[in-house]
Symmetry: C2
Subunit: 188 residues, 2 copies
């Protein structure tokens, strides 16, 4: 199973493609950023981003596109552009007939670090460890996108409609994920 993770953003949108090799192993396939210039009009920026997203999907042919869920309470200065790029990513996937999943930042952090409150440095450290990447991953949007893809691969069997697994049968990271997911559901 190949997952393409999208950390949405209008200026920089992180892309991370990861493939499962066995139940708890994942390999890095490709990653990068989709960018648009703040000097251009918004409609032209959206066109540039949408075109690049289409190219990623056509080159990587993922089984699933995982997009970070955007909340209205996020950074006021950027939330509209972030929501719009998340929308473009979901639309691009739907147009290519690829299933879409969304995960909250808390779920992603819990999946890769075991804690839903981990900071960005901790997420990056674990992403590099999990995917055996030696050099720092820059910009941070790329490691966030890879973390999102790993999160989707490693989601507990109970997530997204499958049969629910008892918390005791999970790894610490999976348990933290399940708890974060339950917390997110309660807050909806």
């Amino acid at each position: 199973m190949r997952v393409l993770g999208v950390d949405p953003g209008l200026t920089r949108c992180g892309i991370g493609v990861v493939e499962a090799v066995g139940p708890r192993r994942a390999v890095h396939v490709a990653s990068g950023v989709v960018t648009s210039s703040a000097d251009d009009d918004v409609d032209q920026r959206l066109l540039v981003v949408a075109t690049q997203l289409d190219e990623w999907l056509e080159e990587q042919v993922p089984d699933v596109v995982a997009v970070e869920q955007v909340f209205a309470q996020a950074n006021v200065r950027t939330v509209i552009g972030t929501a719009q790029v998340a929308g473009l990513a979901m639309l691009a996937a739907a147009r290519h007939g690829i299933p879409v999943a969304t995960h909250t930042p808390t779920e992603v952090k819990a999946a890769v670090t075991g804690s839903g409150r981990a900071d960005k440095a901790q997420v990056q450290t674990m992403v590099r460890k999990i995917l055996s990447i030696d050099a720092p991953i820059r910009p941070v949007d790329v490691s966030d996108a890879l973390a999102l893809a790993i999160c989707h691969l490693w989601r507990p069997a109970g997530a997204l409609g499958g049969p629910r697994r008892p918390l005791g049968a999970m790894t610490p990271a999976q348990r933290a994920w399940a708890q974060a997911e339950q917390a997110a559901r309660r807050n909806r």
Copy 2:
């Protein structure tokens, strides 16, 4: 000049097409709503909305697409979906090579009623008067989209890069519009 106005929304997106006939006259060309079902997944809803938006652009061939500007401070429950549909409308226009303009709700109200604080009933009354529409326009998203298109047609000569006209040479509605526009700029 033919303007297609978009009042963005994921459940109901208002569309209003208006054409200028002389400097202060506008006629209704077509209007309606683009809808998606809250029972479907977001990616499928965005696909349905994007497909309908493309059909509107291909049928109406507007010279400009005018989209209501979405603010982060708007309704928390719906702002993400609203921002995403505004993004899809801008992307659809850009893909068809049609210029995009955005207007704030205050600018739109001022343009059609003379007051940036007018309520929805007042906007609807003025839209019906301006376009000579006898029956109530339902849902309200449609009259908001028509108001947006009228706003774009009637913007003062100074707006969007043209030469600026002194406030005294404007009609009361144009003056209120220019003042609302200045206020919106200050708040950016």
